[in-house]
């Protein structure tokens, strides 16, 4: 199932004093099974773009096609679209409302009109995917949980819809390092095991570098770069010009190159730079 975006424009508060163009002429195709990292400075239009993917925002002009269905078309079943394209908002724990963890995760499936047995299966499955212990936590209040647990309950609430495409808007914002690791790990597993298409909005170049297969860069509402991480992260100057940066591995590689070490171009992952440094160390030092 692919998502095709054609000439998408979006204007906030049309006609008012605060009229702002959030997206201008965005063209994009998201293929089945991809892992896309979406980066951009605050206010670059990332969040607006992802909200178009499941019809929460309708284009001012242009088209969004999910599996060939036009989202602006009245005949399109929005709920079916939202089941297929799951969207996890920033700080998703702010949307929790039910008395228990189980009921909150069941909210989505229940809205889909599934029967109790299927809802139960999906809740258990979603909790397993986000590494929450069903037996221990299912009847706890969502407001008693820790921040990281609340975040995982919220993500489970979207996973329980069993979407084919999962869009996450800064899934790690505000978490401690361990919480980040856990969330990133479960996203990775979801992509690898269930084959879910992932679109991850992130401010962390390192997170994007370690997970994404394709990187999309937004700036002032325009899609300015789209390619494999290796190519995108080799444009350090352009990225810095947009208030972004390159992953730490690229920074380290650049610094080492400046000092005369022989580091091949196109390195962007921590593991890769580690291998290179080990190679140099094995050869016994500087200008090998």
């Amino acid at each position: 199932m692919s998502i095709v975006i054609e000439h998408l424009n979006y204007v906030y508060m049309t006609g008012g004093p605060y009229e702002t163009k959030a997206l201008s002429d965005v063209n994009l195709t998201i293929h089945d099974g991809e892992f896309i990292g979406l980066i951009g400075h605050t206010g670059s239009g990332k969040s607006t773009l992802v909200q178009h993917l499941n019809g929460l925002i309708m284009p001012t002009s242009g088209r969004v096609l999910v599996d060939g269905m036009d989202l602006a078309d009245k005949a399109t079943d929005r709920r079916a679209i939202r089941q297929r394209v799951g969207l996890v908002f920033q700080y998703p724990e702010n949307q929790l409302f039910e008395e228990t963890v189980e009921k909150d995760i069941a909210f989505g499936p229940r809205n889909l009109g599934l029967d109790e047995a299927e809802i139960d299966r999906r809740v258990k499955d979603a909790m397993r995917r986000v590494a929450l212990d069903y037996d221990r936590l299912h009847d706890r209040s969502v407001f008693e949980l820790s921040g990281g647990q609340m975040r995982r309950v919220a993500i489970a609430g979207v996973l329980a819809m069993e979407p084919q495409v999962l869009v996450l808007d800064e899934p790690c914002a505000g978490l401690d390092p361990r919480g980040r690791e856990e969330i990133l790990g479960l996203i990775k597993k979801l992509h690898e095991e269930a084959g879910t298409t992932i679109v991850m909005v992130s401010h962390s170049m390192d997170d994007v570098a370690s997970l994404a297969e394709r990187v999309i860069v937004m700036n002032h509402g325009e899609l300015v770069m789209d390619g494999v991480p290796r190519d995108v992260f080799s444009c350090g100057e352009e990225l810095r010009g947009m208030g972004l940066d390159v992953p730490q591995a690229v920074q380290l590689a650049d610094k080492l190159r400046e000092r005369g070490f022989d580091i091949p171009e196109g390195i962007y992952r921590i593991e890769e730079i580690k291998t290179e440094i080990e190679k140099i160390a094995a050869k016994g030092g500087r200008h090998a």
Binding site: R79, R82, L87, Q95, G108, N111, G157, V158
Partner: protein
């Protein structure tokens, strides 16, 4: 839909109206509303409209923006109109449908009340569109200051208003976000009967209250951390001063009121 509410929104600018003292604007708005309520014939309303239009032109705000502000209240206005149509007793019937007789007096009354509401909303919109919330509450506080002698908590009230106004956009944004998050989970806020719709509000209201309380708590902490203790002897960053503009404004309003009263005598 939430974004359509223009009432209470500030439209930044630097016109003569913007630069007037908020106290004067508050008083003049009240006077204008009193003026509008004294009007009871169509030429009078045209006069009120002309005056409003003039003020809006000076302020540099598009008049259509003001009209849009009335839109969310169309049902209340319609309700008032219909209510007056049915329940005002009159003597000059113009239309008879079975048990219901439409009288001229009822029709007049209905039109006038609806118009008054429209002008009430538009008049106060001019005030809020040209005055920043901070200025507005500053003005209110100063106007209420004499009441402090009777232990009326003018400062506290103004502070509460400032905070409430400050958080309206924040909470609207939050509502929008939570609503979208729940819609992403298949929630439906738009269809179903009244009970179903009320029930659908729970997933929206619970998180909204939770976040409002959290924000209130954070804000209280932040204020304490900056040693806020309100009340007496607080000096202010910007002292309010009446200027020539305020005198002109007051005179213009007095002229308007005079003409309205005169017109009422002559035609009413």
């Amino acid at each position: 839909m939430l974004k359509d509410i223009t009432l209470g929104q500030y439209f930044p600018g630097d016109s003569a109206i913007h630069r007037m003292d908020p106290r004067m604007k508050l008083i003049l708005t009240i006077v204008y509303i009193v003026g509008v309520f004294m009007v009871s014939n169509l030429p009078g309303y045209l006069l009120a409209l002309a005056f409003l239009y003039l003020v809006v032109r000076i302020s540099g705000i598009q008049f259509s923006y003001l009209v849009k502000g009335v839109k969310p209240l169309r049902f209340i206005i319609l309700f008032t109109f219909v209510l007056n149509l049915f329940f005002v007793q009159g003597e000059t019937p113009i239309l008879s449908l079975g048990f219901f007789t439409l009288t001229k007096e009822a029709l007049d009354n209905a039109i006038y009340f609806a118009l008054r509401l429209v002008f009430l909303v538009m008049g106060t919109s001019v005030l809020t569109l040209t005055t920043s919330p901070v200025q507005l509450t500053d003005g209110l506080e100063r106007l209420m200051r004499p009441l402090q002698r009777f232990h009326f908590p003018a400062h506290e009230l103004a502070m509460m208003m400032t905070i409430a106004l400050r958080f309206i956009p924040t909470l609207l944004e939050e509502t929008d976000k939570i609503q979208k998050a729940q819609m992403a989970r298949g929630a439906d806020f738009e269809s179903g009967n009244l009970i179903a719709r009320a029930k659908a509000m729970i997933p929206l209201l619970v998180p909204l209250f939770v976040s409002a309380f959290r924000r209130a708590n954070d804000l209280a902490m932040a204020m304490e951390a900056r040693c806020y203790r309100g009340g007496d002897h607080r000096t202010r960053l910007r002292e309010l001063k009446y200027t020539k503009l305020d005198a002109i404004g007051a005179l213009a309003m007095a002229a308007f009121l005079f003409v309205v009263v005169l017109e009422g005598r002559l035609l009413g």
